[in-house]
Each structure stands twice: as C-alpha cells, then as structure tokens.
Symmetry: C2
Subunit: 203 residues, 2 copies
C-alpha cells in the first residue's frame, strides 16, 4: 500500500482542514497515512519570522480566514480563528508524537484540531489536552508522562529538523515515498495520484 507522510503543525489552520479528512480520503484511495506532527516555529525562525506570516502580512491573514471559512462551510466544519493565534502547539505535538507508536495519534490529532478551531479551546494548555486524551479513551496521565520523556522530546526535534531538511516549509505538507512534496490541504488529491503512480512506475 502506498504511504503518504502527513506533516502538520497544531497551530496551522490549513492543517486543521487536512487532518479532518486525510484518513477518510486515504481509506477510499487505498493509501496509508504516516502521521507526522512537527513544529513550524523553528522553520519560521529560520526565515526571520517571529510569528505566523498570517500575522506578519495582514492582507494575507484576512484572506486566510475567509478562505478557511469557505472551505470549512463546504465541508460542514465549524471554524473560528482562536485567540491568540497561532497557539503554542508544543505540548500537543509532543503528546501526538507519543501517540504514534501507541496508535492513538490520529484520534488525538483530530480532537485537538477540532477543539481549537471549531471549539475555541486553548490547546497550548496541558489541562485542555488532558480532557481531550480522556475523550478519545486514552489514559491522560500516562500519555502526558510519555510525552515529557527525553525520547519523545528528541523524536519531535528530529522530526522537525528532518522536515526542514527534506524541504518542508509550511503545513500541511504531504510527502510521498520518493520525496515529492505537496504543500497545502488543497494538494492532498495530487499527492494521492502521485503516490499511486509510483507503484506503477516502480513495482
């Protein structure tokens, strides 16, 4: 089965759109999704940005909100930009990383995005994440403790550095096994076509 890496940042509005549908699209298309939570902060800093470009460039920020409102409405999703934006996604990304091997990363990821962008929750707070972990049926104390282990912290650092190294500069990004990058929720369909094509080219 072809694999697509789904690189996402918890503060990213377009990652919200992608996270809520990527599993369904993959199931329909016979694709396996490798969930790759990472942090955009270090990549933005390397560009000289201290915050999201949506804050640095107000016209772009206003457009993004309107664009997401339109896409969300078309998909039956609620959307409001949380304040402050962008949220600090460090704890959420560490917990999600801890959940990859355990199998609950996708459910946790969707819960965090939905709480933040549909529900206005402050996902920078461990207490918010604790409630969401319980909601998806995972032991919150064990998950949070695992997320604070040196191994998980190091995994997230490594993943973030790796994203930057392969050329990821924004989120969401879909990466196929041969290293093609597709940036943006609106490129998911093209990533799927590409991933399936590989199989034909390199059986």
């Amino acid at each position: 089965m072809p694999v697509i890496e789904f690189w996402y940042e918890f503060a990213s509005t377009y990652s919200y759109l992608a996270a809520m549908r990527v599993q369904d699209v993959a199931a329909d298309e016979g694709i396996e999704i490798a969930w790759r939570p990472f942090l955009l902060g270090p990549i933005f800093k390397a560009n000289g940005w201290e915050t999201s470009p949506f804050n640095l460039y107000p016209a772009k920020g206003r457009y993004m909100v309107r664009d997401i409102e339109r896409q969300a409405a078309a998909r039956g999703l609620r959307f409001a930009l949380p304040q402050p934006f962008p949220a600090n996604g460090l704890h959420a990304a560490r917990i999600a990383t801890a959940g990859i091997a355990a199998g609950w990363c996708p459910a946790f990821t969707r819960a965090v995005f939905s709480a933040q962008f549909a529900g206005g929750a402050d996902i920078s707070q461990i207490e918010t994440l604790r409630v969401l972990l319980a909601d998806i049926g995972t032991d919150p104390d064990a998950a949070i403790e695992a997320s604070q282990s040196p191994e998980v912290k190091e995994d997230l650092r490594r993943h973030t550095a790796w994203a930057q190294e392969i050329g990821v500069f924004g989120a969401p990004s879909f990466v196929t096994a041969d290293g093609e990058i597709f940036w943006g929720d609106d490129r998911l369909e093209q990533a799927v076509v590409w991933a399936k094509r590989e199989i034909v080219l390199y059986p």
Copy 2:
C-alpha cells in the same frame, strides 16, 4: 452573465497557469472574465520585500518550481523558470492595459506568458513584446505608443492601487462582483461556483 475579475502579474508563475486556461473555463461555465493586469511590485514593497517571496525563501521557491512543473505537465504546458526571475512586467502590463478596450488583451496576455514561461523569452524588453503583438495580429507601433500614454500609465497605477485596496496580495486573484477574493490558480473553480451562486442569491 456573472463576471469574474482576473487579476494577474506578468512575472507570476501561477498567473501563467491561470491565464492559459481562464478563458476556456469561463466559456464552459458561462462566466465573463474581466482581465486585470496589475503590478505586484508595489504590494511586495509594502510588505518590505524587495523581490519575490520565492527568491526570499529558497525552500518555498524550490517548491514553487516543482509544483508548477507538475501542474504544467498535467495540462500539456511547457515550463521553465526564466532568468532573471521575476521579470520586470511593467511594459507588458502597460501594453495589456492598452489592449483591454481594444479587445486584444487576452490574446496578448497568453502570448506573453507563453513566450516567457514556455519559451524563455525576456518579456521585460519592448522588442520582445513588439514581436508578440505582431504575432497576435495587432499593430505593434500603435499598441506600444498607446501603452506609453499618460492615460494608460495612470490606469495601471490606479488598477494596482485598487487591487491593494480590495485586499489582493498575490497573483493570480479572482474577484467576484460581491468582492470575494480567491487567490491562486487552484481557486478558479471555487470562484466560478461562487460567481454563479451570487446570481441565485441576488437575482
């Protein structure tokens, strides 16, 4: 018939993709396109950028080239990034502006984009544009003279200021009669749906 304003900059790679298909899509959908050549330079300068963000942020620039290569291949278009990039599109934008009332703006626009991104031509040069005007059956001397009139120069300045005022920050942008902005070649279909929906809402 619903109208969509098609705002484009001659140096813009994604404007190339849009320009080569917008008329066909519009004809199929019963939409009228209002061609709106403008200059991104003043808008970039207002953001503090002295050149294209694709040059300022190399990872983003590399991705853009790859993304355009994929889209162009899927549509049977050739593509190579011209050097230097971005080209100075001032003369081309003035000539295109002169051609709006005369009716040859769309043909000239496609000719310029194709010469630049499929053919590697230097579209900053009047002599390049002279050849393209002849190719589309327009009197080059008359068109170039018109493009250098104070009225046309002022029209282009006004259009560019207007784009910025309504919230356009990149190219291509599609704007519907009620002021909705759709940014990017990949939003053309959504702009079409929106433009047609208006008719139902406000008959």
